[in-house]
């Protein structure tokens, strides 16, 4: 089984810190590039994904995946006539 939380935190703290710094620097770089023409839904997806990280409930990875996914319509076969 995987290690307990204190052990995992010891092992992963610096990696997680580095990933957050990368993301923060990415965002600063985007802002330095100036305003986007019109609304770009990708930025909102990124913001929604970061909000999920701060939630207190799992599964965060699955929720982030869903944010970046197209909607599934169960009636797709009739829509496509297949």
């Amino acid at each position: 089984m995987s290690a307990d939380t204190p052990t995992l935190l010891d092992r992963q703290f610096l990696t997680m810190r580095a990933k957050l710094l990368e993301l923060a620097a990415d965002w600063d770089r985007l802002e330095r590039g100036g305003e986007l023409a019109g609304n770009d839904s990708r930025l909102e997806q990124l913001r929604d994904a970061v909000r999920v990280l701060l939630e207190e409930s799992r599964p965060r990875a699955e929720k982030v995946q869903t944010i970046f996914s197209r909607r599934y319509d169960p009636s797709w076969r009739s829509a496509m006539n297949i």
Binding site: M1, S2, A3, P59, E62, R70, Y72, W76, I82
Partner: protein
């Protein structure tokens, strides 16, 4: 540890990679037919490709003690051309008796279009008619969830499909549950940026267990790492998982799945 990579595109790799795989413990691989980076113009282009998969690559792999198996189809990207797809599907039976062919694959969806779905269903018909196992490609990025659910719909609507003989590949956190719940095998592809990392694959093993689950490298012409399965083994060991659990995922599960194919008579080394 001996391991099997159930999804790796060796036509895209140099011979040195075979040697590296052998040194890392790879004893067998399976190579699904896929997109070559450009759309082929004729059925003869695919006929030559299938000769490469059934004749050339097995010889190249054998030089390094690796058993090479393969799957045949026209991939989802080129399936947008339905006329060419039907010509390729009609030609595939010429190769189904080759000794390293395990089944039909990697069929699936790319942009989840009507043409792709049509060709996917015609591939399924071919597999059922010839009693072949099936290896399935699921779309990338924003198309993955929708496409995976469409694929599951088509599979589950056909009562002739033996779910134990179908591997749905490239699953991630949002698609692994529906695939396993429906009774299919699931493959996690370790691939930079667009698919899954060894750490996330290990997370999914911890959450979903090891039944009907495999890992692969894809190892194609894009940015990819043919030794990604050993990276997964290393990740699992670093977390303290048992050798028996790791071996089940990287060796015994592929072996169990492959053994359902008529031509798979490979014997593990003593």
């Amino acid at each position: 540890m001996d391991y099997i990579d159930p999804h790796i595109h060796m036509v895209s790799r140099i011979t040195d990679d075979y040697e590296t795989l052998a040194r890392m413990g790879c004893v067998a691989i399976s190579e699904p037919a896929f997109w070559a980076g450009f759309d082929r113009g004729s059925v003869d282009g695919f006929r030559d490709y299938f000769r490469q998969l059934t004749q050339v690559e097995p010889r190249r792999a054998a030089q390094y003690g690796i058993a090479h198996f393969t799957w045949l189809c026209i991939n989802a990207k080129e399936a947008e051309n339905v006329t060419l797809s039907r010509e390729v599907i009609a030609m595939i039976p010429e190769f189904l008796d080759a000794p390293n062919v395990l089944g039909i694959g990697e069929i699936g969806l790319n942009k989840n279009t009507k043409n792709e779905a049509t060709v996917f269903l015609e591939h399924l018909e071919l597999a059922v008619t010839h009693r072949q196992s099936v290896l399935i490609h699921t779309p990338h990025l924003e198309d993955k969830y929708q496409g995976t659910r469409m694929i599951l719909d088509m599979l589950c609507d056909d009562s002739r499909i033996d779910r134990g003989r179908v591997l749905v590949d490239h699953v991630e956190e949002h698609t692994i549950g529906p695939v396993l719940d429906a009774g299919f095998w699931a493959g996690m592809t370790l691939y930079p940026v667009t698919k899954c990392t060894p750490a996330r694959a290990a997370d999914m093993v911890e959450q979903f267990g090891s039944e009907r689950l495999m890992v692969n490298s894809a190892g194609d012409w894009g940015p990819s790492k043919p030794t990604a399965v050993p990276d997964f083994i290393f990740e699992m060991r670093s977390r303290g998982h048992s050798e028996s659990l790791i071996r089940k995922i990287v060796y015994e599960n592929p072996l169990e799945f492959f053994r359902q194919s008529e031509h798979f008579d490979w014997q593990p080394r003593a």
